[in-house]
Point group: C2
Chain length 323, copies 2
């Protein structure tokens, strides 16, 4: 790779105080915990001054690197993304992304509307030169360790070239964040043979086979939890269905298990197919993490930590080096 | 509806003795068990005379309605479907489908190559007039009862009209087999709102909304196990990924559970997202059930029973009445 990343400390991470179903309570709590735990990180909360301060006042923040940038508007989950970010210039998403754009902060973390965050990032930060379409990458614990599935929802319709770029970005991510020298890349399809799949995947298979990536071929739905590969590429429609199905099944089986075992949890130690943290918006010119809408303080804290690691490891810069 | 189905008893079901990973042993065992249990069914095994007879000789079949039609060739899982069925005229799949085509039998059950069975059915039985593309429908137990997901693999690339027809066929199936007066139909997409999804689903949404079906709108991956709807329609690529992911996750969690509970099974009573039987090839002019490649005798027996019910309930004839 040969890219050196020098980062001034502390790393400043902007956190959308209004993002997610349990905002601002859980977000502020997670932000405080992150500031307590990660000494190399400074947390900048964006959100309505009064409600964020009210939450913050519940914690002893003296000596912590945590601050507030006011943004009085909030973008709802059901608003049209592009219209919302154009109209609500004082929303936590727009103000937060602006702080990254201007270089005042290194990353943005939000559990708000995926569409609005992606649109704001694309319009305000721009995309990487070599990347036609940014993708949303979700990491999870497979049976063999961390894996990344992408795209999980940024692009419902994809071209073969998009899938190749997703594979390149996913590989960079797994190299930088999980230290894999040559991440194994699989193309999600409806059969293992290269001729299986729809038109887009059959063409993408050819592009991937010709690429310099460690492409191992097609993988099937059952390979996702198995961890047969480190990076699984697919279009944002199929990826979205897959990640939500896995989540739904995981919750359901977890509940079933609890009932049968007097409240004990199935996934105490091993969080199979649970997101380890948020989903990364890869391919935009900045570090953007979209955390789960149902994030609690612990997931917010994890996403802040991950944002810090993405900055330290130069993931976004390394995507610039994709040829 | 209004279609009367008169069926002469016993209902003759052709079973591919060479279909699946545990053929012919488990297939013959399941066929014998079906003949023992279902007095209205006659089982016709197709396969190599010697090996099928050897398996049959292990059971007391006197008085049972079970017979053998020899077919000495076998189509492998990795053979090109269309070439294989053209070349191997004495294969169990070709001979079996021919028995249905000629009206000598009412249904064909096989755990063999999905591609080869679908190709043979399409070429030899033909498709229903109103159905441009037959679909593979898989039923499973959701939290709220039986649901059908289709297409799970017959058509990787679909047009909006195909998805409408899948919904119509799935509705007919759930009416006839599960007695639902107005099956709720959901369109699998990447968001609940009608504008969410890829181009094909957005157009399909409009067609479904205008149809006479009980269309409730888009559903997401997490709705599949929940049983929010009775029929979930999607293209054969996404459906295939989804069904295999669910299967893989189910197996994995089942194993995890066993380890933690000294061998007890998670799904003893409730087979959540397990296939209840095979997948039905809907839209061809005949009853064709493709059982799981890993079917044991009990799954073969179930598929034979289901084939009998499809004949009795006139599913295929009812698909003719779709307008």
């Amino acid at each position: 790779m040969g890219i050196e990343t020098k980062q001034l400390h502390p790393i400043r991470i902007v956190v959308d105080a209004m993002g997610g179903d349990y905002a601002p309570q859980e977000v502020v709590k997670g932000a405080v915990e992150a500031a307590q735990e990660f000494k190399n990180i400074e947390v900048v909360l964006v959100g309505p001054r009064q409600s964020v301060q009210k939450e913050l006042s519940q914690y002893n923040t003296s000596g912590l690197k945590i601050s507030l940038v006011p943004a009085e508007e909030t973008i709802g989950m059901d608003e049209d993304p592009v219209r919302a970010i154009r109209r609500k210039q004082d929303s936590s998403i727009v103000v937060g992304i602006k702080l990254v754009k201007s270089g005042q902060a290194a990353a943005f973390v939000s559990g708000g509307s995926t569409g609005a965050i992606a649109a704001a990032a694309l319009l305000m930060l721009g995309r990487k030169k070599r990347i036609s379409r940014p993708a949303l990458g979700a990491t999870f614990e497979s049976l063999k360790g961390p894996s990344m599935l992408l795209d999980v929802g940024a692009n419902a319709d994809c071209k073969p070239e998009n899938l190749l770029q997703f594979a390149q970005m996913g590989s960079v991510y797994m190299q930088r964040i999980h230290g894999l020298a040559q991440p194994r890349v699989g193309l999600l399809s409806s059969g293992e043979e290269s001729i299986k799949g729809n038109k887009v995947t059959r063409s993408a298979h050819e592009l991937l086979a010709k690429s310099k990536l460690n492409f191992v071929g097609n993988v099937e739905g059952r390979d996702i939890p198995k961890g047969s590969v480190d990076v699984i590429v697919t279009d944002g429609f199929t990826g979205n269905v897959a990640i939500k199905l896995a989540e739904g099944l995981g919750e359901m089986m977890g509940e079933l298990f609890k009932k049968m075992n007097g409240g004990a949890s199935l996934f105490k130690d091993k969080r199979v197919l649970n997101h380890t943290a948020g989903a990364m918006l890869l391919g935009v010119d900045g570090n953007v993490i979209i955390t789960h809408g149902k994030s609690d303080s612990s997931m917010i804290k994890q996403s802040i930590q991950l944002a810090g690691r993405m900055v330290e490891q130069g993931v976004t810069e390394a995507i610039d080096a994709i040829v």
